[in-house]
């Protein structure tokens, strides 16, 4: 019986692999997070538009590298043969993903990057350091002239993007003599610590602060609420991502703007690419990849700046970028 089951499973796996048409694409983020709400429609749209056998969005129950690894490998057992992954860790995810690539299933990294060297195809994401840099520039611009103090609310320190973002903010501030970083508060990408520390900061130093830059989803939401509560609109703020709270705060003028990451487009294009790679395409040797601190195979999905001027049609901004990227994607990056 044991042998029978094993053979049956193996032949089932082989049978799916041999099928030339639509891939069974699995989209797996590092864990549950509101950022990935747009991944599910992205995968489904890709399934419909490109005739995939599946475009399933599967979330590890918690942000835990081992849970994600276990989920990914169990999906290989279930017959998924192409993957779009947001790596739980840019280094620690590599062996598992290499193992998956070793079974013949291509892996495309989306919304973050895996550190070189690895066997994955490429990553499609927003450059975290550059986005933080540009966000800070926008903030400095909005504060006007004169000596200014800004505070930086950042995400988890164990997440390497946080390090890049701290650097990005520092670089932007270094270009302006009159602006200084008053404080960096990190490790607050969860509602309770964020609420506690941001309230404490605002209570103690709010009156001395001229600007807030946030580079994590939750800190952005909490800081936007804190500014709404304050109500004076004296402190300027630039955030990250598109949480409804932040979008509303931009509409109402409490927040100057936000750096978007376009998770919908990233997952949609990554699913498309993963399918093409499984059905025989390969990544071009001379593909015009952009520079990235972690990897040499990076495709910038763009980081549009959301502000009072374009806040009404955020979806359109995302969609336009996605369309533009997709229209030239295959001929730019793939050999089919």
């Amino acid at each position: 019986m044991f042998k029978y089951v094993t053979t049956a499973a193996l032949s089932a796996v082989l049978a799916t692999a041999a099928m030339a048409d639509g891939s069974k694409v699995g989209l797996v983020p590092g864990g549950p997070h509101p950022f990935f709400a747009d991944w599910e429609p992205g995968g489904l749209a890709a399934q419909k538009d490109f005739g995939l056998e599946a475009g399933d969005f599967k979330v590890p129950q918690k942000w835990e590298l081992n849970l994600q690894n276990d989920l990914l490998l169990s999906m290989v057992v279930q017959g998924y043969d192409a993957f779009v992954v947001h790596p739980g860790d840019p280094v620690g995810s590599a062996p598992t993903l290499n193992e998956i690539v070793g079974t013949g299933s291509p892996v495309v990294i989306a919304s973050a990057c895996l550190k070189d060297p690895s066997d994955v195809a490429f990553c499609i994401a927003t450059e975290a350091r550059d986005s933080a840099y540009r966000g800070t520039k926008k903030l400095i611009e909005s504060m006007g002239d004169g000596p200014k103090k800004i505070v930086h609310f950042a995400g988890w320190l164990v997440e390497p993007n946080t390090q890049l973002r701290i650097e990005g903010v520092e670089r932007a501030v270094a270009e302006h003599d009159s602006v200084e970083i008053f404080q960096v508060i990190a490790d607050i990408d969860a509602p309770e610590p964020a609420e506690e520390k941001i309230s404490a900061y605002m209570a103690a130093y709010g009156s001395e602060t001229d600007g807030i830059i946030t580079t994590g989803w939750v800190p952005t939401v909490v800081a936007a609420n804190a500014l709404r509560k304050d109500g004076s609109k004296r402190i300027k703020m630039v955030g990250i991502d598109h949480d409804p709270v932040v979008v509303q705060a931009i509409k109402d003028g409490y927040v100057v703007g936000s750096m978007l990451q376009n998770p919908y487009g990233q997952s949609y294009i990554a699913a498309f690419a993963a399918d093409r790679l499984r059905s025989g395409c390969s990544v071009k040797d001379d593909a015009p990849f952009t520079a990235h601190p972690l990897t040499a195979r990076f495709i910038d999905s763009g980081a549009p700046y959301l502000h009072a001027g374009n806040v009404e049609d955020r979806a359109a901004v995302d969609e336009a970028m996605t369309k533009e990227l997709l229209s030239t994607f295959e001929e730019t990056y793939l050999d089919c």
């Binding site: 549950p32 997070h33 509101p34 709400a37 979330v59 129950q61 950042a154 320190l157 404080q183 960096v184 508060i185 990190a186 490790d187 969860a190 509602p191 309770e192 610590p193 609420e195 506690e196 520390k197 309230s199 404490a200 900061y201 605002m202 209570a203 103690a204 130093y205 709010g206 939401v221 909490v222 609420n225 509560k229 409804p244 709270v245």
Partner: protein
């Protein structure tokens, strides 16, 4: 004692500490954490552990937010139902522990997974956003200057719990069961009944904390409750509760909560290097409990002396 020293040190270093706004922020944090700590303290009192406080609190929180957003139920009714869910969850814990005779640790570990799992299954990890303005106002406005409104339910509950442990037969029964359940049984206490009631109270308190947090965050976040566990134990234990049960003090637990809140706030006010925050936090907790312990030993030493003299 530790609280006073900590307050003095912090205020010397940073005059902003005494501003009204800062007082409000501190009180808000303390109000909610007290509920969490008491929710655990009741169970510590009967000599057990409730690992599912965070899961119950989070489940009540998203039920509260979800009922208002999806079914359009008014805030007070939703809060009542959410608290009922919390009590029900707590009673399930208690009933299972009594019925199977398995350690509370294992049962609440299992229910932790169940309640958290239900939370994720319902929300799919997406927060509920449409929290009515009056709920947000309750969590974020003040009266008499810096006193936040959520202080009122928290204070009421502290007084009630304190009253229960010190004046009511139920409180004495709880502690009797915690100290020695066998002896309690012999003296005619219905141990099963007491344990179930303790878990109901714990569920009630956890649910209240969850609801208060929704009001404060103005969000029905599925992650609410994820990191309550350590805090829920730390405050009562810093306050001198014995994990073996039978001895808890509401007032000391409140001070435990205040110490933790002061430490957290001090770390922000002193602009500690973000990479060092964890180290300093740990060292300060050690220092706080160490100081308490040292003080106990000192008083224990001087007491016999006083008797003889």
């Amino acid at each position: 004692m530790v609280c006073i020293i900590a307050t003095i040190i912090i205020s010397l270093k940073s005059p902003a500490f005494f501003s009204a706004l800062n007082g409000q922020v501190l009180l808000e944090a303390i109000s909610i954490n007290i509920l969490i700590a008491l929710s655990q303290m009741v169970i510590i009192g009967v000599g057990q552990m409730n690992l599912s406080v965070g899961a119950i609190g989070g489940f009540a929180a998203i039920s509260f937010a979800g009922m208002m957003e999806v079914w359009g139920i008014s805030a007070p009714v939703a809060a009542g139902l959410a608290i009922a869910i919390g009590v029900l969850a707590g009673s399930l814990n208690g009933i299972f522990i009594v019925w199977t005779g398995v350690s509370a640790f294992v049962v609440t570990l299992a229910t932790l997974a169940i309640f958290k799992g239900l939370n994720l299954a319902i929300t799919e990890a997406q927060p509920f956003y449409n929290i009515p303005a009056e709920v947000g106002a309750f969590g974020n406005t003040t009266f008499f200057g810096p006193l936040p409104w959520i202080l009122i339910p928290a204070l009421t509950i502290v007084v009630c719990v304190n009253f229960m442990f010190n004046r009511m037969p139920l409180g004495r029964k709880l502690l009797a069961v915690g100290a020695n359940s066998h002896a309690a049984k012999l003296s005619g206490i219905n141990v099963s009944h007491v344990i179930i009631v303790a878990h109901c109270i714990s569920g009630f308190l956890a649910a209240t904390a969850g609801i208060a947090l929704v009001a404060r965050l103005q969000l029905g976040q599925p992650t609410i409750g994820d990191d309550w566990l350590i805090m829920s134990f730390a405050a009562p234990v810093i306050g001198g509760a014995i994990l073996a049960g039978g001895h808890v003090s509401t007032v000391a637990t409140v001070f435990g909560v205040i110490i933790v809140a002061l430490i957290t706030q001090g770390l922000v006010l002193f602009k500690v290097d973000p990479y060092l925050v964890q180290v300093v936090l740990g060292a300060l907790i050690l220092a706080a409990v160490g100081f308490n312990r040292w003080k106990d030993i000192q008083t224990a030493k001087t007491k016999p002396g006083m008797h003889s003299g």
